[in-house]
Subunit: 346 residues, 2 copies
Amino acid sequence: MNLKGLSEILGLSQTTVSRALNGYPEVNEATRKKILAVAAEHNYSPNARAKGLATGRANAIGHVIPIANQHEMVNPIFGDFIAGAGEVYARNNYEMVLSIVDDANEEKVYRAFKSRGTVDGVILHGPKMNDSRIALLDEIGLPFVVHGRASGIDSNYSWLDVNNRSAFRRATEFLLDLGHMRIALINGLETMDFAHRRRGGYEDALNARGVELDPALLRSNDMTEEFGYASTVEILDQSRPPTAFLVSSIISALGVRRALEERGLQMGRDISIITYDDGLSYLANGADVPIFTATRSSVRVAGRALSEMLLAQINDPDAPPQHRLLEVELTVGRSTGPAPTTANLA
Amino acid sequence: MNLKGLSEILGLSQTTVSRALNGYPEVNEATRKKILAVAAEHNYSPNARAKGLATGRANAIGHVIPIANQHEMVNPIFGDFIAGAGEVYARNNYEMVLSIVDDANEEKVYRAFKSRGTVDGVILHGPKMNDSRIALLDEIGLPFVVHGRASGIDSNYSWLDVNNRSAFRRATEFLLDLGHMRIALINGLETMDFAHRRRGGYEDALNARGVELDPALLRSNDMTEEFGYASTVEILDQSRPPTAFLVSSIISALGVRRALEERGLQMGRDISIITYDDGLSYLANGADVPIFTATRSSVRVAGRALSEMLLAQINDPDAPPQHRLLEVELTVGRSTGPAPTTANLA
DNA sequence: CAAATTATCCAAAGCGCTTTGGTAACTTTG
DNA sequence: CAAAGTTACCAAAGCGCTTTGGATAATTTG
């Protein structure tokens, strides 16, 4: 069923039917009722492509998911982010279109989005330091919002970020307060902006207390379980092992825990762990008492908020860019405790 | 830049330019070269909506992701599935459109896909027993392939499934061979077809050996880490605890392991675990020696294969439905060992 | 009560592409 | 060398919708 057919059934012009369905005022209430009824009866909904052609809008938002070619890894937070954004799109009759793409082809995808008119805007995932995509999107004139920020980029773009620096400063301070002087940092790839900021927060806290930073305690990579495990094994094998681990992802934290358990070290007594927790739906941080002491911020909520920001920006292109910095909650779980004294360890 | 502009620059008709770009034969090779060059120079790519309107094809595939309203959980295998499918779409110039939707609205989404012409076909995720969506898609005439199968549905539709029954039969036999007589099953929701089949395989193996099935050892739910943990705690607290666990997801298996460790039970010695492993990129089952003995089948490969099946079906609607049943690999890791004798336990 | 509004409706153009049904020029064939 | 193909191109229709610019009838106004 299309508009033409529907209007013939109704004995009305396509114009009137279209206006009635789109809620324009210049149509009699009685006839509008009738039009809506008949449209529903025939299960009519307008062809998206024709509508898009006529209006110049796609009613769709693009998400470009970069695949790190090294690990071929899909960021595990992605599903939950999408779930949050998806709610918003459904409410606003937008479609979500996804492109899985390796870094090399990312620019092509954005350009194609623009020139083919596939989407009205995009959400930029996983911003890197000096991320070149921001200038690119500005150049091609595709509306966008960034999940995170890009250090080194001056232009004024819309973003929503977690206060990663403050989160990791607070987490580090928390460990220092417990007497931990040697704290390992199991971080994401430090080309990623969030990882860079987290490291900054960690360093801030150490510097403020005059604790020396030991590069031997730092690791940085894609945040898999295996990475957490392997890093921990390496670090514990050193001559002066740490008493605490600060971890950038609950998934890597699982790997850290595995390494500890394999060595018979008890989490929260022998070794403390604080992890960042994105609030993933399938990896809840314990039911009542959290497994891990964690800095937490829901990536699903971020998905909701960012998609709303983007839709607002599309509907009002002249509005100034929006910025939102979310603070994390630091919740205490069973993975932290006072630093063991040397006596205890021996 | 649009076709009209491009053809004016070239001093050719839109017809010729269009034919040249789409590889039709009736255009001189020299002029085709020129057209391609000028198109590239001006960064031209055809408007997707106009093209779709004219051809009647969307060049897009829909994925409907149901959100279980109980747990609000996004299936964690989803990211990897999408990564596999995304590769194929990129190669074939298809777009992937995602709808996140609660069960109540799923039918609406499929109908809208069809009547609005948003997509050329869909991939059906997470088939349930007697899944009503299959009849629905047949009725509305939207091409589809199913990731899994739906017991109780007779119609002949295209699917790709893992041999879940054989996987869990083999896993159970493996445990029985090791002397385990009481094996707990931590399964997915048994309204889901895959979970039903896995349970079938488990029962087959027990029956074949004349081992009695104890309902007290069965659990079924969304496969979160917490579910694995909580189930294990409950089951171990029973008067006659099992010596082995068969788990439907590596994520839940992590929860099982957590429960064991909390009780000081050593995996592979005191308690054996076999888990199903979807080969998730961020949760590799160990680097060299697998952590868990596992039945493994890559969900990413499934994503690739299913999207290829769907595209083939769209391009040749009269071809008969395709069926592919993948066998899993059963790889031995460190989580299994002979059943402890009563003497050992005491 | 004629003139001016207002309320309803419609015909047709246009969005950017593909495709049908040509035509004109150039080759080949008998 | 006339007839029959071929080759290379083009004008225009059509995909299904929105939107502009009326038109007609009903209502209000002075």
